[in-house]
């Protein structure tokens, strides 16, 4: 069946800077799952989010919503697109209009998408969504944004996304500006949305650990390209791409073994990747000659794994449309 959302060879350039390069992926929502997109700043993950959400047009390539190019949607199709694909953004402060109470962000979609026939029904719908994310309506409604904590505000945003019963929610760093103790609760409610309400989620973050905890699949991005993709347990426990390995080993763990700090000395500087080489060649400990001259394609190393590294050139190349097969649903974890 047609995928809900598909990106075909999407490239985005800002002047000289390439933010995203030739990315193809598809999201099928008949099998709801959480896909994490992990990368550092500059990797292109936020650009990907904005392009999928239709907030920024791609420089090359297309984004298709149910087979139709999102750049050329009719008014009605656009409304359907807006209902099916929703977002939760990073900053729980900026997204609230300080002039209004928080009810405003919840009543606006109800009104614009005609989600309820009467005021009372709308109110019931809003209260239901708030409860679904673990908030008590009586503590939230009627308050101004500055009267609530960052964590509460972010959960209201999740409730807002859920109101429209979307098929896909794109969450861009939803917990990075929230206290550590609240992250589990918010991510837990996102997991519940997938397990109980069948909503697929794209979870964009720089935090590999939370991505591992809550997702089924993962896309690791580096400098505008996909470095590795696949089922999250495999990628994290047996990383293939040298960048993924570097990322995992750089995370400080809570343990009495202190092996994290090593003396690095002066920053190693190798020639920056040329226009056509692998993006990671200047930092890669196992770079070969080939890596500086050509960009590695994604090789399908396992049924549910693809890596863009010449070290795996023995495996078949991943055909552009097959990314969604790599990102198939896995066994869902249950969060405490």
């Amino acid at each position: 069946m047609t995928a809900l959302l598909e990106a075909r060879h999407v490239t985005k350039r800002y002047g000289d800077n390439t933010a995203l390069s030739g990315l193809s992926m598809a999201i099928n929502t008949d099998r709801p799952s959480i896909t994490a997109v992990v990368g550092e700043s500059g990797s292109g993950k936020t650009t990907l989010a904005r392009i999928i959400l239709g907030l920024t047009p791609p420089s090359e390539g297309q984004v298709l919503y149910q087979g139709q190019d999102t750049a050329h949607l009719s008014g009605e199709q656009r409304r359907a697109f807006r209902r099916d694909v929703q977002a939760v953004f990073q900053d729980p402060y900026e997204v609230y209009n300080p002039f209004y109470r928080v009810d405003h962000v919840l009543t606006t979609p109800v009104r614009n998408f005609k989600l309820a026939a009467t005021r009372a029904e709308g109110r019931r719908l809003i209260e239901q969504s708030l409860r679904a994310v673990g908030l008590r309506p009586e503590e939230i409604l009627g308050r101004f944004p500055h009267q609530l904590s960052g964590g509460q505000r972010q959960r209201i945003m999740v409730a807002r996304a859920v109101l429209m019963k979307p098929k896909l929610i794109v969450a861009d760093e939803p917990v990075s500006m929230v206290d550590a103790s609240l992250r589990a609760t918010i991510l837990g409610s996102l997991r519940k949305l997938t397990d109980e309400m069948g909503i697929s989620i794209i979870y964009i973050t720089h935090d590999l650990a939370t991505a591992y905890q809550v997702s089924d699949n993962i896309l690791v991005m580096y400098r505008a390209c996909v470095a590795e993709a696949g089922e999250v347990e495999r990628v994290v426990k047996h990383p293939e791409h040298p960048y993924t390995r570097l990322l995992i080993s750089s995370i400080p763990k809570v343990s009495t073994t202190r092996d994290w700090l090593e003396d690095d000395g002066v920053e190693k500087v190798r020639a920056l990747p040329g226009a056509h080489g692998c993006r990671f060649v200047d930092r890669c400990p196992v770079a070969m000659d080939r890596c500086a001259t050509a960009l590695p394609p994604l090789y399908r190393t396992e049924a549910q794994r693809a890596t863009a590294c010449f070290r795996y050139a023995d495996s078949p190349e991943l055909h552009a449309g097959a990314m969604d097969e790599v990102l198939a649903e896995a066994k869902a974890p249950t969060l405490a």
């Binding site: 589990a184 991510l187 905890q213 400080p252 000395g265 969060l335």
Partner: protein, 317 residues
């Protein structure tokens, strides 16, 4: 233990129209020379305010209500404005949060270091200055060419290391680093922390690392203090805190760190951090504590010794 920094009973409050807010409530700890002390806590715990108050950099409506701070035997509250100014950077240096964004965008790195030196009466001729700057940059792992660069030409990690270079230029006895890596990705974070460790070895100074990442604390500090609602609720060597945390909040904080071992094990702490101007009676953590009893609601637990070098503020520790 020869303490290079001793803090006793520090209290800092902010005047708010709805009442006084006690951001730092009776905090005491000591820092040995060459030691790495961590100060962990979430937003609103008072840790950044505490760091600023050691340097007497609290601005109205905040003020230091009381307490003593002693640096190498010198009582800091006895110093006048000028004395305190000379101490900042030369005695205690701070790398504040987001400092990489506070580098002067129109001055080269060398000029900014020269500024810091000149403010403390160290005026060097151009040759000597270049040599000093090159050495500082080498200590923090930056190439000498960086001296002539502007901040916007450096990456986030490099900027942060430049800030560390400014912080150490007068060889301080204590460096306070407030969330030095929160805006950086994990790979760069490790480089910056390695720099900090190397700097500490070279200078023989002590470091206070303020932050909320328990993993980072576990891998970097020697001792850890945990702050909640303005109070220091636990202090202990890091190994002890990881294996046997005594305060329920410390336990919860450690469990809330997402692990890379098994999925679906992430735990949060129920409830919300209390508003500092509206603290619950008794122990500030009791509404969220799984072990809370009647006495926790009425009696504020004092910080007690619960083991060698270990203190905790909990009735059950």
């Amino acid at each position: 233990m020869n303490a290079i920094l001793k803090v006793e009973g520090l209290c800092v409050a902010f005047d708010h129209p709805l009442g006084m807010v006690h951001a730092v409530d009776d905090v005491s700890f000591s820092l040995a020379a060459n030691e790495r002390l961590g100060l962990a806590g979430e937003s609103g715990s008072g840790k950044s305010t505490m760091a600023l108050s050691i340097l007497r950099m609290i601005k109205p409506p905040g003020r230091i209500l009381g307490g003593r701070v002693e640096l190498d035997g010198v009582e800091l509250s006895a110093l006048d404005q000028e004395g305190m100014r000379r101490l900042r950077l030369a005695g205690i240096a701070m790398v504040p949060q987001g400092s990489m964004n506070s580098l002067n965008p129109v001055m080269r790195i060398q000029a900014q270091i020269a500024d810091a030196l000149a403010d403390h009466g160290v005026k060097l001729g151009s040759g000597a200055l270049e040599a000093r700057v090159a050495e500082l940059l080498r200590t923090v792992g930056l190439r000498p060419e960086v001296a002539r660069m502007f901040p916007h030409e450096l990456s986030g990690g490099m900027k942060q290391r430049a800030c560390i270079a400014i912080a150490i230029c007068l060889r301080p006895k204590v460096i306070i680093a407030d969330e030095p890596t929160s805006a950086l990705d994990v790979v760069v974070q490790r480089q910056v922390m390695e720099t900090l460790a190397r700097v500490q070895r070279d200078l023989g100074c002590a470091i206070i690392l303020v932050g909320h990442d328990m993993g980072l604390m576990a891998q970097f500090v020697d001792r850890l203090g945990v702050m909640y609602a303005g109070r220091l609720v636990e202090v202990a060597p890091i190994g002890e805190i990881i294996t046997r945390p005594r305060h329920p909040y410390t336990q919860a904080l450690i469990s809330s760190l997402p692990s890379l071992e098994a999925r679906g094990t992430m735990q949060g702490i129920p409830g919300l951090a209390p508003l500092l101007r509206d603290l619950p009676p008794g122990c500030a953590f009791h509404p969220r504590c799984p072990m809370a009893e009647a006495r926790c609601r009425t009696d504020k637990p004092a910080v007690r010794d619960v083991g060698p070098g270990q203190q905790a503020a909990c009735h059950f520790a």
